[in-house]
Symmetry: C2
Subunit: 196 residues, 2 copies
Amino acid sequence: MPRPSLKDQRSEQILDAYLTCVSRFGLEGATQEHVATEAGVKRPILRHYLGNKDQMTGALISHVVDRFARATTALQDALEPTGTPADLIDLLFDKSVPNDPRVMLAYQSLVTSVANHPSMRQPLVNSLEQFFEVIEAVLKRAFPNAPADQIRAVSQGISATYVNLDSLTPLNPPEVWRAELKQAATILAASLEATA
Amino acid sequence: MPRPSLKDQRSEQILDAYLTCVSRFGLEGATQEHVATEAGVKRPILRHYLGNKDQMTGALISHVVDRFARATTALQDALEPTGTPADLIDLLFDKSVPNDPRVMLAYQSLVTSVANHPSMRQPLVNSLEQFFEVIEAVLKRAFPNAPADQIRAVSQGISATYVNLDSLTPLNPPEVWRAELKQAATILAASLEATA
DNA sequence: AAGTATATTGTCAATAATGACAATTAATAA
DNA sequence: TTATTAATTGTCATTATTGACAATATACTT
């Protein structure tokens, strides 16, 4: 008999707006007013669904980590069990894939603020390691004879080129940068052929 | 006859504290109170030397861009006229070199906030291009026959691995990550040998 | 010692951001 | 239609942040 609850949808809507604001203003620069405006609701709504600012922030951190982890899982699912390094790089760098740079930008903002919120350090590290592992798995399958440390290095390099690209999106980087970073990732992957 | 001016020293001291705060709280999260505390001065001092918040922020942006550009120039000076790619990578990745990750973190925070301060976009892009060019110059000297687009790609890749390393410092990344990213950069540079 | 320009601090008003809660509106079932 | 529960909005007190300026302290010169 009660009015149907919108808690899930509204929470998601608010957290997504919050994520957008964090990607633009940083974690400590995203005010409730910013979030409310971005979400198209009045400020008290935020409190109603997510509690006070501390609780909101806690929820946001989980949300960002979760979004990043989900993107990692989606990447993994798209590549298992037979994806090649070329497939991986296409997924990471092709604009056709609907990538959401906000997530990576918000992620970066969290990393920046980790000293002020020490408890989020471990989740951030873990989700990043998870991302590395997906890359590693693809490389290991393609180059089973390559030494482990070299695979790790190439994985880190590919990850770095990808993260870097997303980090630069606010600058409206010229399209060539994307192509160049993609080529760098390709070169890294190709380096494993020699050792196989 | 007047009391000697401390404008230069104090301005530098304040801007450096401001830079620290931006690297920790982001551009929109660094309050005057934060900066004053970090600099070890009272808040009105900030206004006295740098004006109101807008002017302070303007000065900070110039300061960060300048610090980054100076670091680039220092890198260039250390490598001209005979530095090799191996020298470059040592300078970028060796902990012995007194690198200041705050500069890169603050730089990243500026990039994040560029939508809110559009005028800083071009200086940021320019200083980044300058950084690329130093890397390119070293590679071009070592591999004069390598195709230009490949040099660009490798430069972007090396830059990305370096930027990525600094971006992760708040996470206290394990030392292996540094070694792995350095190795990735080395692999990228080595890839140019094949084409020469 | 006195004058002078600057450094430094103290203080208060104005604005922004947050916390908290009351009041109203809306949707559903009986 | 009415009861019920949640959504949504309005509002005010508290705190945080900034702007502005007066007042004092300090170092140097003559």
